[in-house]
Structures are given as C-alpha cells and as structure tokens.
C-alpha cells in the first residue's frame, strides 16, 4: 500500500497521534523524531527503522532495540531463537551496543534518506546518554545500599 495513500488516511487520526500544546506529535515506534510528519511516520512505510528503548538492567549494555518495519504479511520465525517475529516489524540484532547499532542503521539506510538516518542516529545517541546516566545512578545506589 502506497505511503502517500496511507498518509491521507492516517494523518488526521491514528492511534499514535498526540496533540498537545499546539504540537502534533506521534508515539509511533518507527518515528524517531516524535513529531508526526509524512516522512517521519515510519509505520506507513515499507522500510523504516525504529529506535526503541528497552528496560535494561544495570549490567546490560543494550538499552535499545532496533525495530525494522517490514511489509510482508507473514510472520517470520527466527530459526536460531525460535522466536516469532511480528507481522509488521522485525528486531535487528545489535550485539555490542551503540556503535554496532549505529552501524546497523547506517548500513540499512546506505546513502539514502539522510534525514531519517540522522534522526535515527540522533535518537540512538540520546537514549544511550540517558541510559548511561541511569546506570550511573543505579550503580551509585547499589553501592550506597551495600554500605
């Protein structure tokens, strides 16, 4: 289904739309800017990458899931983990954290859609920084507790 057509249906009203303080925002997981616009709304495209934060424990490096939008109708089963993936998205594997994640993003986009690519990378960096702060606080808290 064409992105243009879907946008005409979805732009007025959709489950991710949030209008606040005169701003038109989106909670779409594939939207890395947070603002609802035609190009940034990822769930209506065939290929988009969403940078999604996960609840990570203190020692876990990865705080971010990369979710890739895919347009197949069938659910895919990951052969290795036997996890079923969702119909509309697949999680991209990120092994070591922010630098591999950014590589995955850049590889996926290539030289195309620089704006979207930058948005994804920007979100990745922000999430990573926030997570670093959180982990620092958690470690300090556990240390204080031990004392």
């Amino acid at each position: 289904m064409s992105q243009s057509v879907l946008w005409e249906v979805v732009k007025g009203n959709n489950a991710f739309l949030v209008k606040r303080n005169g701003l038109t925002l989106s909670t779409d997981p594939f939207n890395n800017t947070g603002v609802q616009t035609y190009s940034s709304t990822g769930f209506i495209t065939k290929n988009a990458i969403g940078v999604v934060p996960t609840q990570s424990k203190v020692n876990q490096i990865n705080n971010v899931n990369l979710v890739a939008r895919k347009s197949t109708k069938f659910q895919q089963v990951d052969r290795k983990t036997k996890n079923t993936q969702s119909v509309y998205a697949s999680t991209l594997s990120v092994k070591h954290g922010i630098h591999t994640a950014s590589r995955v993003i850049r590889k996926r986009f290539g030289t195309r859609r620089l704006g979207l690519q930058k948005a994804a990378l920007r979100k990745l960096v922000k999430l990573n920084r926030a997570n670093a702060v959180r982990r620092r606080n958690e470690i300090a808290a556990t240390k204080a507790q031990k004392k």
């Binding site: 289904m1 249906v9 979805v10 009203n13 959709n14 769930f43 109708k73 659910q75 089963v77």
Partner: protein
C-alpha cells in the same frame, strides 16, 4: 496486476501450522481505500439505530397565561393568571422564562434515520474489508497485532464449532489476538456524563471481529463473553463493525469458508457479484498511487529538468572572523600562516629565559616584612580607636550614660 497476492489458512489448534498454504486474496481486498465514502456512509448509517424521543408537547404550556400588555411597567411576556400563589404574575411560555417551554421543542417526527444509496453502502463495506487487510491501517486504528501471524488472519472452520469460552480464549491467545482483548479490558472506563445513569455505564473499546460463514455455527456463544470481541456472519457484514467510528482498519479474524465466500459476496474485477446483484467493485481513480515511485520513475525523470542547485549566498548565521578562526581563514587564507608564525615567534622569544625559581628564604623574609607592616597598621588603628574613645569620655564625661547610647 500479474501476481495475485496469496494468503495462508491457519490451523485452529496450532498457530504455527498452516492447513492451506496459498489461497488467493479475494478481490475485495484490492479495492481502493476510500475513507471519504466510508466516512459519509458511516455518519449516516450510524443514525439508523437511534430511537425516537421527544419532549412532552404540553411541557411549559399548561397555563392560561396572558400578556398584561403595555402600561403596567412590566415586560410584555405572557404572565400566569390567577392569584394566591407565587406563581401568579410570573412569566410563562417563553423559552427564556423559568418553567417555560423550550424553543423548537423536539418532536417525535424528527427525521431520525438516513437512507444511503445502496451502491455507496456497498462501496463503503468493500473498502472497509480491504482496509482490514492492510497492516498500517489496523495499527493506526489502535489494535495490538504485534503477535498475530498474518494479516488478514484466516483460520480453518474448526473454530465455528467452539462452544466454550475457554476454547475461544485459548484460540485468541494462540493467535496473538489476546493482546487486543487485554487492551480492551484494561481501558474500560466509567463513561463521563449522564449516560452512565441511563444504562451506558462503561466505555469499552473494540477488539477483534470474528467473521464466520455457516449459519449453525456455535462460536457466537463461545466468543460473546470475551470483552471487545464481536462475532458476525460474513453475509451480514456491518460497516459499523468493520470501521467503528468511521475509522478504517478493524482487526478481523476470518474463518476459511467466510473468506472464500467474499468473492461471491462482493464479486471480482472480472465478474460482478452474484449475491449483491450487479454490484461491481469500485475501481481506483489512480491505478498507481505511489507518488514517490512515479516521481522517481524513468519516464518522469527523463522529461524532468535537472534540479536547480540553490545558490548559497551566505551562511545562515554570521560568524565573527575576529573571534572564529575558521571564518577568518575563509576571508583571508593567509591568516592561518600568520597565526602559526606568531605562535612560533613567541616560542622563539621565550626559549632562552629560565624559569624564576621561587626562593624559599626570600618568601619567608617577604612574608615576615608583610606581617610586620600589618601588625603596625593594626596597632595604629587600635590606637586611633582608643584616642577617639578618650576624646568622647573627656568632652561628654558629664553625660556618661548618654555617651554610651551614641
């Protein structure tokens, strides 16, 4: 379209098993998405379930009120006749009056229902069915379908024989539809407003819609107590269920026979419908609506003039070259060398000079001298203060008590 999109039918007991691998999608799912038609038809059809209501025709008019006319220093509104009660002489009948009848009282013969052209209703239904097969639209409507194996979801007819709600629940869980049911349960709220006293206490969201075909199917009873789930026969598909609120993209679970019946029900692009007599599916206004693809196609790009490069006359923000070295270099390329030369010159100048080692003894001596001076200053100020006090005592000694207060 050379290739027909294919769909799998899943086994009711095991969501990973597929009973029929590749069934062609019924032509309804290729119908163009027309939210304008759906919106129009929905707003009208939604009025058809309304029950007539009206205001009591005599409300506010059961008086023999008459206007007092002019000359009595009161407004000319009809006033209640009689005496002996507060009510007498009070204004009556008008919509502005207390206890008066409303303006334009609602009559029972208000036009409650709307008729819509059959063709429009059918086009709307077809579009709504098509939208249930498009994942972004189902997502946009707010259904939780991340674990659903396929959209459109087609299951073998076995679920039509479910009698127990537990079977229904387990089925939904197996196919990832339970997340949507959970959403319905967790977002049940008490309705705002008076309707809660009139039998509509809760506002409940819509969950999955289960569509079956065989008339003696028992699944209605199995599914009806599951919150949010609706069950409907494919021959009685309802736009109000397919696009609730006029919003396309309900999450629908089809049984195999219901899915197969859709071609007969709506027809295809080659044959008109058998059941909806003479109905032909809507044809798209534009066969290729993918604007990006059209723009990037060879045919368009060949004819199109090369993109104009915007001439950047100046930066968006002016940088001060006296402070910003890069801006300076842009204006004067030699500035970089000048700066380097200046740095080198400074280095050359300071090469011979030794660093002054601070003499400890010198430090001590200077500190002692400072302390001495400070001490003498201290003594001086002390002496001065004492002198002032003595003067005060001398000259104002008579009023010693008074001197204290100064």
């Amino acid at each position: 379209m050379t290739s027909v999109p294919l769909v799998s039918v899943f086994s009711a007991d095991d969501s990973s098993k597929v009973t029929a691998k590749h069934i062609p999608l019924p032509a309804v799912f290729q119908t163009p998405i027309r939210p304008d038609i759906v919106s129009f038809v929905h707003t009208n059809i939604a009025k058809n379930r309304r029950q007539a209501h009206a205001v009591n025709p005599q409300a506010g008019m059961q008086h023999s009120a008459e206007s007092w006319g002019t000359g009595r220093a009161v407004a000319r509104i009809p006033r209640v006749s009689g005496s002996g009660t507060h009510r007498s002489g009070q204004a009556a009948f008008g919509n502005q009056c207390r206890k008066g009848r409303m303006s334009l009282p609602i009559k029972v013969w208000r036009r409650w229902h709307r008729r819509v052209n059959i063709k429009q209703k059918r086009h709307a239904a077809a579009t709504a069915v098509a939208a249930t097969g498009i994942v972004p639209l189902v997502l946009a409507r707010g259904h939780r379908i991340s674990q659903v194996p396929q959209i459109p979801l087609v299951v073998e007819d076995k679920i039509e024989s479910y009698e127990k709600t537990t079977d229904a629940l387990n089925f939904l869980k197996r196919f990832g539809a339970f997340e949507d049911v959970q959403k319905v349960v967790s977002t049940k709220v008490v309705r705002a407003g008076i309707s809660k006293q009139r039998g509509k206490k809760y506002r409940v969201r819509k969950g999955p819609l289960v569509v079956y075909f065989n008339e003696n199917a028992k699944l209605l009873k199995a599914f009806r107590n599951v919150p949010g789930v609706e069950v409907v026969n494919v021959t009685r598909l309802n736009l109000l269920q397919l696009a609730p609120g006029g919003q396309l993209g309900r999450f629908v679970i089809w049984t195999q026979s219901a899915f197969a019946h859709l071609d007969k029900l709506f027809g295809t692009y080659r044959y008109t419908s058998i059941i909806k007599d003479g109905y032909q599916l809507l044809r798209p206004l534009i066969t290729n609506p993918d604007l990006a693809r059209i723009i990037n196609s060879n045919q368009v790009q060949e004819k199109v003039q090369p993109a104009k490069t915007t001439k950047v006359l100046h930066e968006v923000q002016k940088k001060n070259p006296l402070k910003n070295s890069k801006a300076m270099d842009r204006l004067n390329p030699y500035a970089k060398k000048q700066r380097a030369a200046a740095v080198a010159a400074i280095k050359a100048n300071t090469k011979g000079t030794k660093k002054i080692k601070k003499n400890k003894a010198l430090k001590k001596a200077s500190r002692a001298a400072y302390n001495k001076v400070a001490a003498s200053l201290n003594d001086a100020t002390k002496a001065a203060v004492q002198e002032e006090q003595d003067i005060k005592v001398k000259y104002f000694s008579v009023q010693k008590g008074a001197a204290q207060t100064e």
